[in-house]
């Protein structure tokens, strides 16, 4: 038997978890570029560094993004990956597919690319991993004919994503899928043609469990919530208690606001709704017994991001409650105002959250026309370095 060219990677075919090396080998059996990808990766495993050169501008006609240029730094050894560009394809919202649609994407990628994918990339796109420059345009044309489009890259709106929402979740306070799809279609120009200071991400979670990590990973977070009382079905609470949940220890005692009480004798749950901060824990524990309040909407937050540059930030509240119903005019107008303000004031490679830190939240709020409310802060400031607006100050002689 011939000696393996990839002894280090072969080690990763062992073990219980599905192996990406198996997939690399499947693709390598058909495509020289996938084979060279695998051989180059083996070299990386040997010398412990990556072998990709920095970017390079490649793309398809009419767009400024959606393709990530990538070139091997050892084309002498691995000619198949001399260029090996990634195409980001905007995933169907909620990552729902029919097998027909998925097979179409496979057919196209088998024809024009490496046959390797990520299902999915970190932002949510279908990642078609690696092809040559000359195949980019025909591949895009075929994708477009099949009803697919590219996602965002560079200093643009990145592909918005959403949790599974009302398609399969009783906790959905908003139609996360429709909101995400609607915003994606509305902001197509901003998605395909980078014109911002830096990237901008929008993620929509239909409840505070935040299954798409919107508060951590998006510049503009839309998170479903409600007003009004949690509806309690006492019989179902009792059924959960009978099924083995310790209502006091596992539900009441873990409530962060201590707004619940459990009467062990009467088997009755009480909630002081005015103290509830809608964290979802009790509802997560007993979905059959507890239903969110009737008035549904979303909390809007801004500025979430990973560390580059000034450090990681979580999104912070800017609109405590907005009703969200199609065509989402108020939401779209707010996003447009934020984009304009950021575009006008932001430095190159400055995320909106960092711009707000630099210029101050009050400047941002005034810039986009939002009224300050206590829900925006954990506490008022503790330092006395307060700025006043010119109109706050009495002028001499007046």
């Amino acid at each position: 038997m011939a000696k393996s060219e990839t002894p280090l990677l072969d080690e990763l075919e062992k073990g219980e978890w599905p192996s990406f090396v198996k997939d690399l080998k499947q693709a390598a059996a058909k495509k020289p570029m996938a084979k060279d990808l695998m051989r180059q990766l083996e070299l990386s495993y040997k010398d412990k560094i990556g072998h990709w050169k920095h970017g390079g501008i490649v793309g398809v006609k009419g767009y400024g993004g959606g393709v990530i240029g990538r070139y091997s730094d050892r084309p002498d050894l691995f000619p198949g990956v001399e260029h090996f560009h990634t195409m980001r394809v905007n995933h169907p919202t909620g990552w729902f597919y029919t097998t027909d649609a998925l097979r179409k994407v496979c057919d196209i990628w088998d024809q024009y690319g490496s046959g390797l994918t990520n299902m999915h990339g970190s932002t949510g796109d279908i990642i078609l991993l690696g092809t040559k420059t000359e195949f980019l345009q025909p591949c895009f044309d075929a994708l477009s004919d099949a009803g697919f489009d590219l996602g965002g890259s560079g200093s643009a709106l990145r592909t918005p994503s959403a949790c599974v929402g009302p398609a399969r979740c009783e906790w959905a306070c908003i139609d996360s899928l429709d909101i995400c799809y609607n915003l994606t279609m509305h902001f197509q120009d901003q998605l395909h043609r980078p014109m911002f200071p830096y990237k901008f991400k929008i993620k929509t979670s239909a409840c505070a469990n935040d299954c798409v990590a919107s508060i951590a990973r998006s510049d503009f977070s839309i998170i479903g919530t409600w007003k009004g009382k949690i509806e309690i079905n006492q019989k179902e609470v009792q059924a959960y208690a009978a099924s083995g949940i310790n209502i006091r220890e596992e539900v009441v005692d873990l409530c962060p606001t201590h707004c619940m009480a459990w009467d062990e004798g009467k088997k009755e749950l009480k909630i002081a709704d005015e103290d509830c901060t809608r964290c979802m824990h009790c509802i997560n524990m007993m979905p059959k017994a507890l239903k969110q309040g009737k008035e549904k909407g979303a909390t809007l937050l801004i500025g979430g991001k990973a560390p580059i540059l000034q450090g990681a930030q979580l999104s912070t509240v800017i609109v405590p409650f907005m009703k969200l119903e199609p065509p989402y005019t108020e939401l779209k107008e707010l996003i447009a105002k934020i984009l304009d303000w950021w575009d006008e004031n932001g430095k190159m490679r400055e995320r909106v959250g960092e711009l707000i830190n630099r210029l101050g939240m009050r400047t941002f709020l005034r810039g986009v026309g939002l009224k300050p409310v206590p829900q925006m802060v954990k506490s008022p400031r503790t330092n006395p370095y307060v700025f006043f607006w010119p109109e706050d100050i009495k002028k001499e002689g007046k």
Binding site: L12, F20, D23, L24, Y97, Q188, A306
Partner: protein
């Protein structure tokens, strides 16, 4: 010419009939067993979702195999989760067990629901990134091989979300994970003075540095990097390709713990540094695998039911976390970036460990 700006295909075309009928009208759900969710609509209709693990980096052959399974059991409907799992969607309860049998025979792990370790969100690593400090798919595979029994069961105090990013850019946004595996560089970029004038814009390069470590070097039409100020983020390399910082001997992995995204009980939290450096040791990263496993098992032993890793550590204190895990506490754990004092202890209340 192909049409542009058509956007993604509408998700509405890809929803199975049971979802179309019950859209927005789900009543409750249960986890029938690890990896099997049952959602019940107000109509009484049932939807079963069977969740299976995937390596994320998958071939078109693999996708076609997934399609065959979905055709056979789910009338061709499926979805993927935000953590790279595959979900087979069925309305016919009698097909759940045959589907599970088929998945078992094809070696798909089924699980990732409830109090489990679900799939590791991760990045490209050496497979396709230009700034990685480690690989992504390899460490993920090695860690999941070791933890797969926590994927296929629900025995942990709460869910444990693990994520890996191969550098500080954090495409994997690992900064709010129960356990984060983060590739780090530890040496400054090597300035290629011959290439900088041709491929880099000096003001942009200088401005890209968060700590002001980069200065123009007009004599060479290049830049200099202040070794004392650079913290190896690689942001300059992203704007200036003549500043590579990969270093096979010194790049490696750091481990972070206690982050969360959900608002349930406690507010979302950042992950905090547990282990500053572990070597890159391909192909199976034994030091990283052992460290992650030790943290998961210490948490499993000591946390109360429903406590996420971060909630457990906040309750018992970091001093106890370090004692229980046996991880050494060093000066690297004490923040010295811009908001550092906010993490210093400003009370005499602490534990002895």
């Amino acid at each position: 010419m192909a049409k542009t700006d058509i956007g993604p295909p509408s998700y509405k075309n890809f929803l199975p009939p049971v979802i179309q009928k019950n859209y927005g009208k789900w009543s409750y759900h249960e986890i029938v067993k690890p990896g099997v969710l049952k959602h019940v609509g107000e109509s009484g209709d049932e939807l079963y979702s069977v969740r299976a693990g995937s390596p994320r980096l998958i071939s078109t052959d693999h996708i076609r195999e997934i399609c065959e399974i979905a055709d056979k059991f789910c009338n061709g409907y499926l979805r993927f989760t935000s953590r790279h799992n595959i979900e087979f969607l069925l309305s016919d309860k009698t097909k759940v067990d045959p589907l599970l049998a088929e998945l078992k025979s094809k070696q798909y792990p089924v699980g990732g629901t409830g109090h489990s370790v679900t799939n590791i969100v991760h990045t490209q690593g050496w497979v396709h990134c230009h700034t990685p400090a480690t690989d992504a798919s390899g460490p993920v595979k090695a860690v999941m091989d070791e933890l797969h029994q926590y994927f296929t069961s629900m025995t942990l105090p709460s869910q444990v979300r693990i994520a890996l990013a191969c550098c500080l850019n954090m495409c994997g946004a690992v900064h709010c994970s129960d356990i984060a595996i983060l590739g780090i560089h530890r040496t400054i970029p090597k300035v290629d003075h011959n290439r900088v004038p041709n491929v880099c814009e000096i003001p942009t390069t200088v401005a890209s540095c968060p700590t002001g470590a980069i200065r123009p070097d007009p004599k060479n039409k290049s830049v200099t990097i202040n070794e004392d100020k650079c913290m190896y983020c690689g942001n300059c390399y992203t704007v200036c390709p003549a500043l590579p910082l990969a270093d096979g001997e010194n790049d490696g992995i750091s481990i972070w713990v206690g982050g969360k995204v959900s608002n349930a009980r406690s507010a979302p939290m950042f992950s905090k540094l547990a282990i500053p450096f572990l070597p890159n040791n391909p192909p199976r990263w034994p030091e990283t695998v052992a460290a992650v496993k030790k943290i998961v098992e210490t948490y499993a032993k000591h946390a109360r039911k429903h406590e996420r890793v971060g909630e457990w550590i906040e309750r018992v204190g970091w001093e106890r976390f370090f004692r229980l895990t046996g991880i050494e506490f060093t000066d690297k754990h004490i923040d010295d970036f811009t908001m550092a004092p906010s993490t210093y202890r400003t009370t005499t209340q602490f534990k002895w460990g």
